[in-house]
Symmetry: C2
């Protein structure tokens, strides 16, 4: 919703088609002021200047980033989120984790202090989701959960970080663009498969994740613990669970590949790799 | 230096005596814009809107806080701090820790996520100080050290925190106001004595500190490890080392008591308690 508001706010003062702005290349110079009240914390849009939006005609899910799009005021009140359903709480939790993990696992360098900060967000989300699934009106747990959501994407997780990408997001955006599933549900499907596939490319970081987030020793155990947590909070971990059929894999891979090309990541993710990755999510 | 700039920036546009603004009560409405380049990271003034300054005529060391005093631009470049002396590095390290510890030990409530954030800053300062004392031009360690200094006082350590005070700062300010010693050196003297005295008022927090910052079990061991670290980095831990004579204790206690009264903390710190506390620093 805040992302839509950002695109509308930029579109109103843009002398042209607003979709021109949503291609990760053009950045709007100006926008109306945005005042928002959060009903759900996950995207982190309340404390950043980016937006991702689906063009339903072209089935593209792209976005923009511009200092003009920072919300002027964001009201983030724990009480207002106590009625979020358990499913959407789980999807939100996975979304917040994915904002951390895309960066954490792909970055070529993360300062120790920033890595600890990211692990703190992950531990906070995991701990408070467990509490909130039992008692949705736990004020302290909700406060920490929604603050973790904001902090996960307000820029603080990128301090001193080099060479990070947003792999699972690029993959998932096509899933929720082509199939009408919540972004967090799509990420819940992507993350276990992607981390298993990606782990060998950054084994030390996965070991650190295993140790500091789940208190286990090996990278494989960490990835397994994370998958078990997703299952435990009742989020989907397979394409089947989100009703993406087996014959949908090829068109989906082709759709993702377009985004991958825009991000200049086609060498890492040729269409065969994407197909294999999606097949491992069945 | 940035604190002085803030007071000057507020004083230029204030229609009266600038010292009126420096009493923790009046807050300036306006100030000139401040652009700063850091030569030393410790105070955190580069990312907040507060200032503390000494009036040498009255020997008062008070300050103000005002949104008008936020620096417009702060240039924080690790390279520019590689020539900081080992003594000033140590004083800076203690100052940053004290910004965290005053809040951490006195707060009646700290969210788990914020406590973990504070512990991350403390661990970062301790780890990088050890590296920088050996190699002052270690760019990565310096980057983390100076970022820790900014984060320790940019508001992020107070998220969701209730009932915190700045005890060791209130005590130390009189020391550096009456005796020309660096603020961080004074804090190095105050902290071991104060934490030993204060520990019984918040034993669980001290146990957490011991466990999460120094990897030891009991609060006493944590306080001891912290004192040993101050000694190791060659900062002073006694009044004698900073040339405050024994007959200086009574006037010092009287001076501190005035600040304590302004902060409304006279029940916790009657003048006898301050005298005992200072005596334990001999």
């Amino acid at each position: 919703m805040i992302d839509s508001a950002k695109v509308i706010a930029a579109g109103v003062v843009y002398d042209g088609d607003v979709w021109d702005l949503c291609n990760y290349q053009n950045s709007p110079d100006a926008a109306l002021k945005i005042f928002d009240i959060l009903t759900l914390s996950a995207a982190g849009s309340e404390t950043n200047c980016s937006a991702v939006i689906t063009n339903e005609e072209t089935t593209e899910k792209f976005g923009f980033s511009s200092p003009a799009a920072y919300p002027s005021v964001s009201v983030i009140n724990p009480d207002l989120q106590s009625t979020v359903t358990s499913h959407y709480l789980a999807y939100s939790a996975v979304d917040i984790c994915s904002h951390c993990l895309d960066l954490y696992f792909t970055a070529s360098y993360i300062p120790e202090m920033t890595a600890d900060h990211i692990e703190n967000i992950l531990k906070t989300v995991i701990r408070t989701t467990d509490i909130l699934l039992k008692n949705p009106s736990d004020y302290e747990a909700r406060s920490e959960f929604i603050w973790a959501a904001s902090v996960a994407l307000n820029g603080s997780t990128r301090i001193g970080v080099e060479g990070n990408r947003f792999d699972t997001h690029l993959i998932e955006h096509s899933m929720s663009a082509l199939y009408d599933i919540p972004h967090g549900a799509g990420l819940a499907v992507v993350l276990p498969a992607w981390t298993s596939w990606h782990m060998s490319m950054n084994p030390q970081r996965y070991e650190r994740f295993a140790r500091n987030v789940f208190g286990v020793q090996r990278g494989e155990e960490g990835v397994e613990a994370f998958r078990n947590w997703i299952v435990k909070i009742d989020a989907p971990v397979s394409l089947k669970e989100v009703h993406i059929p087996e014959n949908g894999i090829h068109p989906l891979a082709a759709h993702i590949f377009r985004t991958i090309q825009m991000a200049g990541m086609q060498e890492l993710y040729p269409i065969e790799t994407l197909t294999d990755l999606l097949s491992s999510m069945r």
